[in-house]
Symmetry: C2
DNA sequence: TGTACTTTTGTAATGATTTCAAAAACGTAA
DNA sequence: TTACGTTTTTGAAATCATTACAAAAGTACA
């Protein structure tokens, strides 16, 4: 939890119990969880936790650039505590979101739109079927 | 409308009046419209048009690969009748979505996730402020 | 302690999207 | 043309993630 607290402070965010818990969860779970997944995990350790607080906190972390908000999954926004440039892959079979390394990290910056004065974020993602789900479908 | 009809047929989609109208709208308007924008435009020429039909049709076109469904805008899915590989830019000031050309079209394919058996789609998009909106904010 | 400010909480509202079953349109064979 | 099975459209109702809001709780500091 120490790490999460200092991580928040480095982004100028006051470290409340709930904020530390959310940030810590994202730093230790690279699963790109939804709001509800985070809520259900954390309400175990903070029984008074409100879903609204999870929404508020994630929004705050996102606004400060401490986390990424992925729109890869139409049904739910997913969050990522790993903010280095990388892409994502959603398997439409199992619903999992995987990290994807890029062979040319500069590509995204190089292709920045010409009519853009400021870029606040960029997302690259793939959808398809992972090897495991593809094999299962051979039945 | 001739173009839209044949376009649909080339994707194996039966060309009903409503489907032709939706497809024609997307082929002639490169504005990445939302469902409601499409509905409000087309209900002028087809007064009996139902919003559900627009949803159904867009879903059908998307499933057949005739159009793209963009998740760049959290609030609404946006649609694009231009299916060649390109990126998008959402200006958070005016809400417009612009096309972005890529200097290396092969990049996206080259970085396909290693654990993917099949890729059905890929999206790259930017968010920020366009030059016009940025200038306005200097006030 | 007291006070001002920040954060959390729970309920209610919002609004895009989906569900569903009936009505309409269509295709085709007799 | 007519009848019949299939496809498509329609509109109302339901769903559900997210937001709005105001009260309650927590925090900092004099």
């Amino acid at each position: 939890m120490i790490v999460a607290k200092e991580y928040l402070q480095s982004y100028g965010i006051r470290p409340s119990t709930q904020r530390i818990a959310v940030m810590h969860y994202l730093l230790t779970h690279r699963t790109h969880p939804t709001v509800d997944e985070i809520y259900h995990e954390l309400v175990e350790e903070i029984p008074t936790l409100s879903r609204t607080t999870v929404y508020n906190t994630l929004h705050l972390l996102y606004e400060h650039g401490a986390i990424l908000a992925l729109s890869i999954d139409e049904a739910n926004v997913r969050f990522d505590g790993y903010t280095h440039p990388h892409a994502h892959f959603l398997c439409c079979g199992c619903g999992k979101v995987y990290d994807v390394d890029l062979d040319d990290v500069a590509f995204v910056q190089r292709n920045t739109p010409k009519n853009a004065a400021t870029i606040t974020e960029a997302q690259l993602f793939y959808k398809g079927l992972c090897n495991v789900c593809s094999a299962k479908r051979q039945n």
